[in-house]
């Protein structure tokens, strides 16, 4: 049984600001069903560009719900710049502390907020808003944790061990294959000052016919995805394309990683979006068809 303090329990039992804002100015969504936690955060600004109202919906354990609730209390009335400076550490402190293995829940809140702010800024610049920042540089394939997320969390919480990184971000908590990479990252991050963030422009992609799309997807799978998977004992097969929905059958990359199928989907989707089209979605063919033997 987790040792939650009374404040965490209170925010779990009576979460503040649960719900939905119909005409929200910014909406952020992070996590996924596969990970076991997901948070949707939305806010509305007042005339002075301060957060007038904020609501959330969370799928997750008690600490995820409590962290979301705490976050909304913390950012109410703040300007977006002020809100963006609220760290996951402050969320945890507001709650009087979280069990070490549950720190990733506070990071989730922080990420949802940044995604919502990003969503608002893109919308106000007239760009196509994306609800989620698509991860570009995945370090932990099991949980889809990017280099950027790890770096930000390490800096904000002054983390120094892989175990801490796992508790805060889940990275390294699946098959463990990325542990050496996290170690390297830790050394690198803790040796250098924070860099100035630069935006990564996405190359414009031309319109494709369905046949061209299938060909390009197949090529991308053959060239970019399958060799990597096969190296680890996994495999992938293109089954169907239905509009923007790519149906694949997959096999896990490492036998210990029970969420491999989810993460694969994540990695595959990113690759296909990078090389084929931004709007592609990957779904897995029913797992019964992909009878594999471990």
């Amino acid at each position: 049984m987790w040792d939650y303090n009374d404040k965490v329990k209170d925010h779990f039992r009576n979460p503040r600001n649960v719900g939905y804002i119909k005409d929200a100015d910014g909406v952020g969504l992070v996590g996924s069903m596969a990970c076991g936690d997901a948070l949707k955060l939305m806010f509305k600004l007042d005339g002075e560009q301060r957060i007038e109202d904020v609501k959330f919906q969370t799928f997750g354990c008690a600490s995820a719900i409590a962290s979301s609730s705490a976050l909304t209390e913390l950012i109410k009335g703040k300007s977006l710049d002020e809100a963006a400076r609220v760290s996951n550490k402050e969320i945890a402190e507001y709650l009087g502390g979280l069990p070490e293995q549950k720190m990733h829940c506070s990071v989730l809140g922080r990420d949802a907020l940044l995604a919502a702010i990003d969503n608002y800024r893109k919308k106000s610049r007239g760009e196509q808003p994306e609800e989620v920042q698509v991860a570009s540089d995945v370090v932990c394939a099991c949980f889809g944790v990017t280099r950027q997320e790890i770096e930000r969390t390490v800096r904000e919480n002054k983390l120094s061990t892989v175990e801490e990184v796992t508790n805060y971000t889940k990275a390294g908590g699946g098959c463990g294959g990325c542990v050496p990479q996290i170690e390297e990252l830790l050394t690198e991050i803790n040796a250098s000052p924070p860099p100035v963030r630069e935006a990564q422009p996405k190359a414009a992609k031309k319109r494709l016919t369905t046949i061209q799309k299938i060909q390009l997807i197949q090529e991308t799978i053959d060239r970019e995805i399958r060799p990597q998977l096969q190296k680890d004992g996994g495999d992938i097969e293109l089954v169907d394309l239905d509009g923007d929905m790519v149906v694949v059958s997959m096999r896990g990359t490492c036998s210990h990683c029970k969420v491999a199928s989810f993460t694969l989907k994540f990695v595959v989707e990113n690759k296909l979006r990078e090389f084929v089209s931004d709007s592609l979605r990957v779904v897995e063919a029913s797992s019964a068809e992909a009878g594999d033997e471990a």
Binding site: M1, W2, Y4, F12, R13, P15, V18, G19, Y20, L29, S32, M33, A34, G36, D37, A38, L39, K40, Q57, T58, F59, G60, C61, A62, A64, I65, Q101, K102, E131, V132, C142, F143, K170, G173, G174, H256, C257, K258, V259, F262, S286, S287, A288, G291, D292, E293, A294
Partner: protein, 393 residues
């Protein structure tokens, strides 16, 4: 009200068992191996317990080796058998859904030169027995398949698998920790070589169990030393717990039929009530133990459900990642292809002979509002329609 519905994790020690054990924890402290009659009377009680346990499973008393529990029995059966073969055969077969006490041993063996085949299950949790049969080769040393699954209660066709293994000359072990006391078992008619059981799943204390070792089965002991348990497991016997296990076995044997009818009735009542009154609730597993109910509440998370149940005095368990302290959901549900939407929200209710209808009705009163509340918080449920929405990720 306090309602304990986590009997697959552990059970209440039966009052009759406690009563039988107390003298051995107080006055009767002799060593069962001693020559004097003070120890001898303890030895007699241990022997009686061996008879009682053997009767429950249709074994000969000399085939019963007392151990410290299910995990030790599993380790002893698998590793002891392989050790006796001196590595002549290097292939071992198990399933994807074993308890860690078997799974962990196989994973370890897989790293030390054995070839491991894990047989998959279908979405009902049923094992592909044909695939198992086809996987057996001349290099196969041992097959280990659990009798009933601890998470879903799904029962495997152990008699059939045992016969296949016998025909093919392969040693067969079954982890029957969840089956003993809940299903009729007759080892005199089923060619099982090794069977693990654990006391605390059938109303005996924790830390006591047994391994059935069929006469003639070759096995190197894991714990070497004294001559106890016929040289198969050294160490002075845990006399009080052994006596407790004996009484628990006798209770189970005498009540298994009537008890199971009542337990099944209550389980079915709980099941129907939940499926009727909770939205997006789906049943996991078909062909199950009478006491087990594993339901997934889609779009909400198991730990949250457990905590809210806990606050109203209901104890259950979850295959959710968060609840177990792991980061990933149950390997059993994943092996069944239960989607993540449901695996994280799975709750196991497991009943016992002590469960009452009033308790079941209490759960049926408390659970639906908890599910509704968490659905309100969930981003996967649309506020207005109350229907699941697909989140674009």
């Amino acid at each position: 009200m306090n309602v304990y519905l986590d009997n697959n994790a552990t059970t209440r020690v039966a009052p009759e068992v406690v009563e039988a054990m107390l003298p051995l924890l107080a006055d009767l402290y002799g060593n069962p191996s001693s020559m004097h009659s003070f120890g001898g009377q303890v030895g007699t009680q241990v022997q009686r317990a061996r008879d009682q346990l053997a009767a429950l499973i249709g074994a000969d008393p000399v085939e019963v080796v007392f151990t410290s529990g299910g995990s030790e029995s599993d380790n002893m059966a698998i590793r002891g058998t392989l050790m006796s073969m001196d590595g002549r055969k290097r292939h071992i077969i198990t399933t994807r859904v074993e308890h860690p006490a078997v799974r962990g041993v196989f994973q370890h063996l897989g790293k030390t030169g054995y070839r491991v085949t894990e047989i998959p299950v279908d979405s009902d949790g049923a094992l592909d027995v044909d695939m198992l049969e086809n996987a057996i080769s001349s290099d196969t040393a041992l097959v280990s398949v659990m009798w009933a699954n601890n998470e879903t209660g799904v029962i495997f066709p152990i008699e059939r698998i045992a016969r296949i293994c016998k025909e093919r000359g392969v040693v067969f072990h079954t982890d029957a920790v969840q089956a003993v006391g809940k299903l009729p078992i007759d080892l005199s008619r089923t060619p099982i070589d090794l069977l693990s059981l654990s006391g605390h799943k059938l109303h005996a204390p924790k830390g006591i169990g047994a391994l059935f070792v069929r006469k003639g089965a070759k096995m190197v002991p894991l714990i070497i030393g004294g001559h106890q348990e016929g040289g198969r497991r050294a160490g002075t016997e845990n006399a009080a717990s052994i006596v407790g296990l004996g009484v628990a076995a006798e209770l189970a044997a005498s009540q298994i039929q009537t008890e199971n009818r009542e337990v099944r009735r209550l389980r079915d009542r709980l099941q129907q009530g939940i499926l009727k009154s909770c939205k997006d609730a789906v049943l996991n597993g078909k062909h199950r133990l009478p006491n087990t109910l594993n339901v997934s509440f889609k779009y909400i998370e198991g730990e949250s459900i457990l905590l809210m149940l806990d606050e109203v005095g209901i104890s259950a368990s979850s295959g959710s990642a968060c609840a177990s302290g792991a980061l990933e959901p149950s390997h059993v549900l994943r092996a069944m292809g239960v989607p993540f939407t449901a695996a994280h929200g799975s709750i196991r209710f497991s009943l016992s002979r002590y469960t009452t209808q009033a308790e079941i009705d209490y759960v049926l009163e408390k659970l639906p509002p908890i599910v509704d509340r968490l659905r309100e918080i969930s981003p996967f449920i649309d506020d207005e329609s109350g229907k699941p929405v697909e989140l674009t990720l």
